[in-house]
């Protein structure tokens, strides 16, 4: 869920504000994220959504998916299919998502596992750029900070959007069992390193002035590599990224399904079809640069609220009231 949407672009906004300090800013936020994961693991039994918070999350996730689809379409039409109509891309993309969503829930989860080897392939491609990297670009740290330096911390949270799913899905994964801390640490290190590496590569590859002009730095790095076995490495990665993004959307819809229907229906086909149609129609009208630019700046506040703050508030309120999941069974 965390590797799809923002991975190709968040480096741009983060480095524009944090400059060389972006690596430190990201590391600080990554540690906050880890502490939150530990908090979620300890307190997940207190995470209960009432009608109001449920509606808030459903609206947020729906908007998130719409932005997701708009961005994917924009990237595809810019990098791969400049002449293909947006509506065709959206229809095909969402049809595949719909198929995965009406299948068994395990299907959606397992597709992500199948894609893991792709991650290694991607890293191998990225390492081909090493001869063009400048280590001196990472320094100096904490020197001549911009007025908007603090925004670097804010935009670092982009990488951890979707982390609320941990506490949402926790009760369905292991009932009354603790997840080993070692597993949490491995997960945290993997996700944080993956994102940190992308920031380091972007900083070392581009000059600061140049980063401002490149909205998708990772794609651009791959675009600039010349290999003998394929003409455009960026296309290769876009298809990998497209698959990750698809899995992320399917997982979001799965959670929406679990929260909205509270497991009362096995596979609500018609409702999901309507949902995807609405998402598709809205996205078709919004695929434009100005809309994306708006969300690129402001969506992060939604992430801070719904991923970091609201789950903590909900847990604390329920803890004070003494309400736990076990009292309500496994429904939220």
């Amino acid at each position: 869920m965390q590797t799809g949407f923002v991975f190709t672009s968040y480096q741009n906004v983060l480095i524009q504000h944090g400059q060389q300090d972006s690596t430190i800013q990201f590391s600080v936020i990554a540690i906050v994220f880890f502490l939150q994961l530990v908090f979620f693991e300890r307190m997940h039994k207190y995470f209960l959504l009432n009608r109001f918070t449920k509606i808030l999350y459903l609206i947020y996730w729906s908007c998130y998916i719409i932005v997701f689809v708009i961005y994917i379409t924009y990237v595809l039409t810019t990098w791969v299919f400049p002449n293909t109509p947006d509506i065709v891309l959206i229809a095909i993309f969402l049809s595949v998502c719909f198929y995965a969503s009406v299948s068994r829930p395990e299907t959606a989860i397992n597709i992500g596992v199948v894609l893991l080897p792709m991650l290694i392939l991607f890293l191998v491609f990225m390492f081909l750029a090493i001869p063009d990297l400048h280590a001196t670009n990472l320094l100096p740290l904490f020197h001549e900070r911009k007025d908007t330096w603090m925004m670097g911390f804010i935009y670092s949270t982009y990488a951890f959007g979707g982390a609320e799913m941990y506490v949402m899905l926790r009760k369905y994964v292991l009932n009354n069992e603790k997840i080993n801390k070692k597993v949490l640490v491995i997960y945290f290190i993997t996700v944080a390193s993956f994102y940190l590496l992308s920031i380091i590569f972007t900083l070392m590859f581009f000059s600061l002035e140049e980063i401002k002009l490149v909205p998708e730095p990772i794609l651009y790095i791959l675009h600039s590599l010349e290999v003998t076995f394929v003409k455009r490495l960026d296309l290769f990665f876009i298809y990998i990224w497209l698959s990750w993004s698809l899995v992320a959307i399917v997982n979001y819809v799965l959670v929406i399904r679990l929260v909205y229907f509270e497991k009362k229906r096995k596979a609500p086909i018609l409702q999901q079809f309507i949902f995807y149609t609405v998402i598709g129609v809205i996205s078709t009208f919004l695929v434009r640069f100005s809309v994306l630019d708006f969300f690129k700046v402001y969506l992060v506040y939604g992430i801070i609220l719904f991923t970091f703050l609201l789950p903590i508030i909900i847990i604390l309120v329920n803890k004070i009231r003494g309400r736990t999941v076990s009292e309500k069974g496994t429904s939220s």
């Binding site: 299919f81 293909t84 001196t136 320094l139 600039s224």
Partner: protein
């Protein structure tokens, strides 16, 4: 999941048979009155020949539109291998001419770039007689210069990146026409985004590569030593830089292999040390001349600014080009002969 892959067969299908696949392009003139050349191969039943199309217009994009009027198929730059830029044009902001290559994802950003002395036309006409594609010829030509450490290796992307870097300047291959054949004439020095008009010779280009730590497969230098030749190949080089307020001291340690020395007897320590001293002094003198030229041209082609900015940020100035030209930058060279071939 892979259904979108099939879409390339619909709206975005691009077949080579329907395109004029340009491998070499170049431009001259100034913004508002640009002339561009496009070279693409055309195969007949008996031979493959190179077609040259000339376009005129107010900008690189307009020029391409103009050139499209003269071809029966769409110009396709997806396999572009080299870009040649006239030296007069390069004296403008060069990025203005390159923007279209970076902006379109279908364009490759790995072609080689070179600055051309004089008119571009003869360089394109020459490619008409080549068996390989025109772009491939110039790409191999420049790659060969890079492998021989005559020029700093740059692609369109890495060159473009340096154009946006305040702490380093560009140095591109400088090519001239010599008896109807292209010949490398050294390195064109840039200051900011413009060609300064100053060039380094090919020999100085090699020393620039040593200073920049961007040596190719071979870096050979020849001197006359006691009226007899001595040739060396640079095996390894390492620079140590110390920075103070108005001074940057460079100590360049170079390990060399002797590849030509008819006087022989390098086994004798005295002979070897004397030769090492001679080569060190020669290279040191030449390198200091290179640095003087760089400073006169306000062109920090070896990226000293990157080091000052990273490790001594308080000494780094925003107008780095001007500041660089005022610094005292002595270079000290220490050469060590590490191999002598199969003879002493």
């Amino acid at each position: 999941m892979f259904v979108p892959l099939l879409l390339v067969g619909c709206w975005d299908e691009r077949l080579y048979k329907n395109s004029s696949v340009v491998s070499l392009t170049g431009f001259e003139g100034e913004m508002g009155d640009v002339t561009a050349y496009y070279a693409y191969p055309e195969a007949t039943t008996t031979e493959m020949k190179t077609i040259i199309i000339i376009g005129k217009g107010m900008s690189p994009r307009a020029v391409r539109q103009n050139a499209e009027l003269k071809v029966e198929q769409t110009l396709d730059l997806s396999v572009l291998s080299a870009i040649l830029i006239s030296e007069d044009t390069a004296k403008d902001d060069i990025y203005e001419y390159l923007d279209i290559y970076f902006r379109d994802a279908a364009n490759p950003i790995t072609p080689k770039v070179a600055i051309i002395q004089g008119d571009l036309k003869p360089f394109f006409e020459l490619s008409e007689q080549k068996v390989t594609t025109a772009g491939e010829f110039y790409n191999r030509f420049i790659t060969s210069l890079e492998e021989n450490s005559m020029v700093i290796p740059y692609t369109l992307q890495t060159a473009g990146s340096v154009l946006f870097e305040q702490a380093q300047d560009l140095a591109l291959p400088y090519i001239k026409m010599d008896e109807d054949k292209p010949m490398a004439d050294g390195v064109a020095l840039f200051s900011g985004r413009s060609f300064t008009g100053e060039t380094l010779s090919s020999e100085q280009g090699l020393l620039l590569n040593i200073l920049n730590e961007s040596l190719g497969h071979a870096a050979r230098i020849t001197y006359l030593y006691e009226e007899s030749p001595v040739s060396i190949r640079v095996n390894k080089s390492k620079r140590n830089i110390s920075v103070s307020e108005d001074k940057i001291e460079i100590v360049q340690k170079i390990e060399v292999v002797v590849t030509e020395f008819p006087q022989d007897h390098l086994k004798e320590k005295q002979v070897r040390e004397k030769l090492q001293k001679f080569i060190s002094e020669k290279i040191e003198k030449d390198m200091n001349e290179v640095m003087k030229k760089l400073q006169e041209a306000k062109s920090d082609a070896i990226g000293l600014g990157r080091i000052v900015r990273a490790y001594h940020p308080s000494l780094y100035k925003k107008d780095w080009n001007d500041h660089f030209s005022t610094l005292d930058i002595p270079i000290k060279v220490e050469v060590e002969i590490v191999k002598t071939g199969i003879l002493y």
